[in-house]
Amino acid sequence: MKRGSCGRFAGCIVLIGVLACATQAQAQRLSIQGDRFAIDGSPRFLIFITYFGAMGAPNIINDLHVIRSVGFDGIRIWPNLDTGPQLMNGDGTLRPDELSRLRFILDQARLEHLVVDVTFTYEHIRGMTPATARLGIMAATDALRSYDNLLFDIQNERNVQDRRFMSEADVARIFAGIKAVDPTRIATCDNARGDDEGPQWVADFTVRLGLDVTALHETRRSDWYTFPVYQTIIRTLRSNGRPAYLQEPMATRDSFFSYPSNDRAEYFLQAIANAKLLGAAGWCFHTEEGVDFRNGAPFLEDRLRAHPEPEWAFVNSLKPRVILRANNGVNYVVPEGGGGGAVRADRTAAGPGSWEILGVSALAGGPLVSGDRVAFTTPDGVHYLQAAGGGGGALRAAAESVGGWETFIIEKVGGGVIRHGDSITLRANDTAWYVVADGGGGGNVNVNSTSRGPAETFTILFVTPHSASAAPPLPGGLD
């Protein structure tokens, strides 16, 4: 069967119209709160994926739906990239058809609740100079004023001494131009090898130019993903009070260069967990699979699947599925019937089936970290675990949306990233009520304990790809 495609954008005009109406009700707003990104007013650790070739991607609808479905919060695109239609002319004017194409991408991203990092690359436009890049970016700012799920990156790796180079003065002029057109547009500009230059240099660059966000491209050394390396980088970046956005960490693969420590998802899982733990605002999964769609598989999903490591394993980690084993070491927490009613802790490892497998998500995004507010979905795909009455009663699986009663705080002694095999407790939202397996397992599950002992302790077991390595807890712990 021939796959549907909107790659030829003339055929998408009707669809664009439909989407334009649909997206109004589903828009999300990107903003900044202190040194965090926020979505619709709530701080969130944002996970992006490199999708530079969006303008030439033949299956935008499918690709963005997959990207959202697997758990990404956003995409990073290059609308001037020369592997597809290019947004700008050399004189800084916008090309009408290509602008429509970009709007279609942004509409679909908004429909999927995806944030879009729109990074400009003036070196890809024949005849473009920093001066005409300023005109083009200002024109794009005006044309895209209605989208509040975007951030702009003025120039990719502007400090590299080749055709990418753009002086600080030029960056400052373009940033001022953006703000003159749309004061609310979030904008930054990135530099290559930011950690090699020194994260302090990058943090100072952001402050010197008054940029909204500090965007870092890493050197890609062999220990790039480790806690000590990220600790040094992120703490320094955050010292300027702006969101620290790890925009280009290690690449999963590269056409020109060979990098270490990038062939397994494990590196990336540790990196993203450390980034969130240390207070980064966002992190991008930097894969080359979304860069050039002129050749190869037309669907991003197929491109990611083609690499079980690291791409597909990492992608499958973003929406963790877990089992909660009671303290008796024998029984698992199980929503009766797979969800919709009571919850017990008497499922066994020897019993066939999957009703004990729960989806779990951190409400503020990213991998699970001690202290996160989380929600659990049941295997029926419909319900959420719920502290009946907000706490003080039974644990139920009857809710169909997430509110206060369906929010739990996951904690482990010493704090840090929640990993496979960790002992954790669950507390009902802002209450003193802990989830407790009566008798330590084998019976009912309630949310009516005010102590944190063995019966309130569960072992969390991941059935989706997960990091095996334990990062050291933060000094003093988190709880």
């Binding site: 020897a350 019993g351 790809p465």
Partner: protein, 196 residues
């Protein structure tokens, strides 16, 4: 939602007509109370037909549970045929005729709704049905499985029902695998979004 049908629906559907074991349990056979008066119509009680997707069920090296991949498992359906709602109070699962401590579970955490069938948690509705995935996930060897439910029907009769025996196929040599907790891929097949 019935997890059993989700595990291997096509296999189960294909084999069901040929291999399903159907046992009708007459309540009078298991109820030890005195029989009805000759002058009064008998009080109806719950009766059940239990079916397995396959019997015997083959040993499978994957797909049994998240924590133990291999074992014998198949969908089970318990159909109430007496027209009386039944409230189960306990479930006993047996391996080779012995109560299996490794399968100590409540009825409600093992049995749930059958796809497309009305279901009320905690009871088996009159003429309704409940479904489950049954068997055992293990690296050990067993020959058969059976479950037993005890409870009370809507007419107040305390009843116990034994399922037919589910025979296990022989396990190929060398397939014993130590306990392992292996990560699974979320999207084992093509994503549903492909139809767009």
């Amino acid at each position: 939602m019935c997890e059993a049908w989700n595990v291997d629906l096509r296999t189960a559907a294909g084999l069901l007509p040929a291999t399903a074991t159907v046992i009708l349990f007459a309540a009078c056979n298991t109820n030890t109370t005195s029989g009805p008066s000759p002058t009064q119509p008998p009080t109806p009680s719950s009766s059940f037909v239990a079916t397995f997707g396959e019997n015997p069920v083959p040993f499978r090296s994957t797909g049994c549970s998240a924590s133990i991949l291999q074992g014998w498992y198949t969908p089970a359906r318990l159909q109430e045929t007496g027209g009386v709602t039944f409230t189960p109070s306990s479930l006993i699962q047996k391996l080779d005729g012995n109560v299996a401590s490794i399968l100590t579970e409540s009825f409600n955490s093992r049995f749930g709704a059958c796809a497309g069938t009305p279901f009320t948690p905690g009871v088996i509705l009159a003429n309704g049905a409940v479904c489950a995935s049954v068997g055992v996930c293990t690296s050990s060897s067993f020959g058969n499985y059976q479950f037993q439910i005890t409870g009370t029907d809507a007419n107040g009769r305390a009843l116990t029902f034994d399922s037919p025996v589910l025979q296990f196929g022989s396990r190929p040599g060398g397939q014993s695998t130590p306990f392992s907790f292996q990560a699974q891929q979320v999207f084992a097949g093509k994503g549903p979004w492909r139809g767009i």
